[in-house]
């Protein structure tokens, strides 16, 4: 039935949206990382506050937290959280500046996106060096 063919082909219209095949300019990378960092912070900050609280409950609590942060996974988590905090903060400041018309032209926006991406990684590197 030709009528059916038309409607079914309309329903089957594919959409090309493979993010691995679409170029992501540096601003898009900064933006995705901003969002990922935000999710990590939403999860990590309550855990961090809990850890801080525990470590402040006398020498025993401190020793327990220090022991918990000994292993490789927890150190890696600290490094990731340091990156998330730095990237989210800097990317947020970048957007605040753009809102008052500072650096919102494309060349400056590209440059600031590079700087935010690099600075976030630099903080993570620093955290890694400190953690080990």
């Amino acid at each position: 039935m030709p009528g059916n063919t038309v409607s079914s082909s309309r329903d089957r219209r594919p959409v090309f949206l493979n993010l691995a095949q679409i170029a992501l300019p540096v601003g898009a990378l900064a933006s995705i990382a901003h969002r990922v960092a935000g999710v990590l912070l939403a999860i990590g900050i309550p855990l961090g506050v809990y850890a801080l609280d525990l470590s402040l409950q006398g020498p025993q609590g401190f020793a327990r937290m220090a022991a918990a942060l000994e292993g490789l996974p927890s150190r890696a988590a600290v490094v990731v959280m340091a990156w998330a905090l730095a990237h989210h903060l800097l990317a947020g400041v970048r957007h605040l500046l753009m809102d008052i018309d500072v650096g919102s032209r494309l060349p400056e926006a590209r440059r600031s996106a590079w700087m935010v991406n690099a600075a976030g990684l630099a903080v993570a590197l620093l955290a890694a060096v400190t953690a080990w």
């Binding site: 959409v15 090309f16 494309l106």
Partner: protein, 231 residues
Amino acid sequence: MRLSIFRFDPDRDERPYMQDFEIELAPTDRMLLDVILRIRTLDDSLAVRKSCREGVCGSDAMNINGRNGLACVTPVAGLAEPVVLRPLPGFPVIRDLVVDMTRFFAQYDSIKPYLQNDEPPTGKERLQSPRDRARLDGLYECILCACCTSQCPSYWWNPEKFVGPAGLLQACRFIVDSRDRATAQRLDDLDDAYRLFRCRTIMNCTEVCPKGLAPSRAIEAIRSAMTRRPR
């Protein structure tokens, strides 16, 4: 030149596939569209829209090596091979490189893209000072090719609710027009978590605009007009 082109014929194909082509460049092949049109002489089943072939009509917008652009103003020289051609991201594919732009134009229509002025006609043109006219520069040149909107992640996830960079650039064009009298209604209409504020200033739009326009700056101008108006 080697090319890899997205193919999909709804009457024949279950799913899209990539087809490779190899074509000897002729001295007249300056722009990508020249090459595509010669491929069509070899395989006339390849569907592509084109009209003015000089970056004015905006028909031949497509994803070229991952970035949206107009094939007719994309120089062949400097393209990495194989040149990968896909339809505009996020738009339903009708066939091959031809996409359904219904939603895109519905968003454009929603910003009322025409001058609104209920004052009695003066009997001649509604005049503008050269300064007021200059405020339209960088806005009126948009050809609605959809390169920007189709490269915008905010639009990918909310094509029904977010106007998208092209529609917002056009909205700005009427908001700043000294002859338009509907500025307040236009700002009210856009003052919405999705219609305007779904923009996350990623700036992919400005990265890819083949006319060198800056939709992200237009969006910023609308936001700024909202904060400056009396409540």
